[in-house]
Symmetry: C2
């Protein structure tokens, strides 16, 4: 698998990006990483590192997109950015997938412009996998679309459903709509209208859920607009991090805490691993004709490594192609069902 | 303090409501609880319990509002409900505050109808106190208003600011707007417009935050619409609960876990106490001419007890009166500042 990595994107680029790339090539023998970015900077970053030059290569891009840039202007003007060049490599077939921890709005806009949407999909969405007490679930949209219409959420549900089947191996994913309560009267106009569409769709739709049910492990796909998805994802990460710190402090305050802490340390480590964002690494943009994986701005080397792994898996399982063909059928069936009812 | 308690509201009513009321009267000698609800049911529930009859009394209400009833019809038709009768006791001055774990929409609507809004406040909001690594903060609106306009959020910010000063004792609360990133370009139309209003307001406004900053302890008041607030509140509760279970399971899986667990048990207990919703008990409706405290539908006896304590504190500190007079000044100053700029 050839993965184009935006080597200049993210808060700690290019250092962690290079480190993450090197880690993947030692851990996964069939991955080849193309570092996309300023050649002289990247050459310098690779200096003194041990790597095989046919597994890590550099593709020059003279521009970098800042985290605070306006997406529309960056997409229009920075045609030699590491984001644009990386996505172009996917388009030309020189890379199987693209990974970026840079400006997610610019990645999405550029992907739309250069690779185009899957037929029948109006807007691509970010599908993130999150841990629970039992098995993980798919949250879609985790932040790509701040404003959504009911039909966008229906498409997210269908894409999330396919993604969950292919990547998490669930046969008949239980799909739920994020709202403020279980009753169908709960929520805002968007959720109420979406509820009707999901009920009619060819999905195992189990209804509305609210925040307290998210981590129950009884749901496979949670559908929401990107504002809500961003709030859920980031609040969960912030809270998990805070709770671990609070707990450590409580343990440190005990006289018997030191030894108790040592005894449960392996458990804490396992726990941290299960709730650590870096383990999940990156989330794909679904609904694009090409594999694009978006990673956190705060990505560490471990997160970059895991995002590259996700990208390789995504490309290997041909998720884009499966979504394109399946969603067309799903939406066509949805339209037929609707007209049959009239 | 005379607290009218909706004895019929909540998933485990009236048993836990009665138990919570009995606990308050033994723990707080200056609280008198008026149990509002079906007299014969409540008499039976009190049978065999030890309590002082001048500290727990019953006020009969023949109707109960179900959790799935339509608010408008329940408010219009059920004029003898425990919610309506309890709020009437506040209106007539026979109670200093009202507490309900029942249908929050019906409580809000009835409070608006019977007690009225504070001058200058278009919509009341729920202000919830949430724990962090450092000090707790105020989340407003935690679920009363699903649809909001920028001016509603400005008013929530001003009310939350006053509430934080009076109840948490902070001098100059740091007020933040919930969004999807720190930059003022982030968020939806509502947050972008609200950002401008908050920047102009007489507040210590520190800008946008996203989910990962919520629990940092660097913010005193977080402002959002009620849909987002409900998502944050319930997701946090669900996640905290899940994380504790995950951690316990990890510890149980260790050979050394049993003894380690025993050694850190006091820390886990402290931790649970700090993150336990029941400890906070209830959240006031701000912007109403009267003290109304809303508690979770899933309230336990401990949550009811603590909601009664919150209600007593709220009434004692005359928060309603302070908000009414302060917000009038704040909004008048805001208008003056705006016209002066023109």
């Amino acid at each position: 698998m050839r993965i184009a990595l935006d080597a200049m994107g993210g808060d700690y680029a290019p250092a962690v990006n290079i480190e993450g790339a090197l880690d993947t090539t030692s851990d996964f023998p069939d991955i080849h990483v193309i570092l996309v970015g300023d050649e002289s900077v990247l050459r310098k970053g690779l200096e003194g590192k041990r790597y095989s030059s046919d597994r890590i290569t550099i593709f020059h891009a003279s521009q970098t997109v800042g985290m605070d840039e306006s997406p529309s202007s960056a997409i229009r003007k920075k045609k030699d950015s590491s984001i644009r060049k990386g996505i172009d490599l996917v388009k030309s077939g020189e890379a199987d997938a693209f990974v970026s921890a840079g400006h997610s709005g610019v990645v999405m806009g550029t992907a739309l412009l250069c690779l185009g949407r899957s037929d029948m999909v109006d807007r691509p969405a970010i599908a993130t996998i999150m841990p629970t007490l039992k098995a993980p679930f798919v949250l879609i949209d985790a932040g790509a679309n701040i404003h959504c219409k009911p039909k966008n959420l229906l498409q997210f549900a269908l894409m999330g459903n396919i993604y969950c089947r292919v990547i998490l191996g669930r046969d008949e994913p239980r799909v739920a709509l994020m709202s403020t309560g279980e009753e169908d009267s709960k929520g805002n106009e968007l959720t109420k209208e979406t509820y009707k569409l999901l009920k009619e769709a060819d999905l195992n739709f189990i209804g509305n859920i609210d925040g307290k049910d998210i981590f129950s492990g009884n749901i496979d796909v949670i559908v929401c607009d990107g504002f809500t998805g961003n709030v859920i994802l980031k609040t969960s990460e912030g809270l998990a991090d805070t709770l671990i710190k609070m707990l450590k402090r409580e343990v440190a305050n005990l006289t018997s805490g030191r030894i108790g802490y040592l005894l449960i340390k392996p458990a804490l480590k396992n726990f941290k691993k299960k709730t650590d964002y870096d383990e999940y690494g990156g989330a794909p943009l679904l609904g694009i004709n090409g594999a694009c994986i978006i990673s956190h701005g705060r990505s560490t080397a471990k997160a970059i490594r895991n995002a590259i792994r996700v990208a390789s898996d995504f490309a290997d399982k041909k998720v884009c192609e499966i979504i394109s063909s399946a969603i067309e059928k799903d939406l066509a069936r949805h339209e037929r069902l609707k007209s049959a009812k009239k």
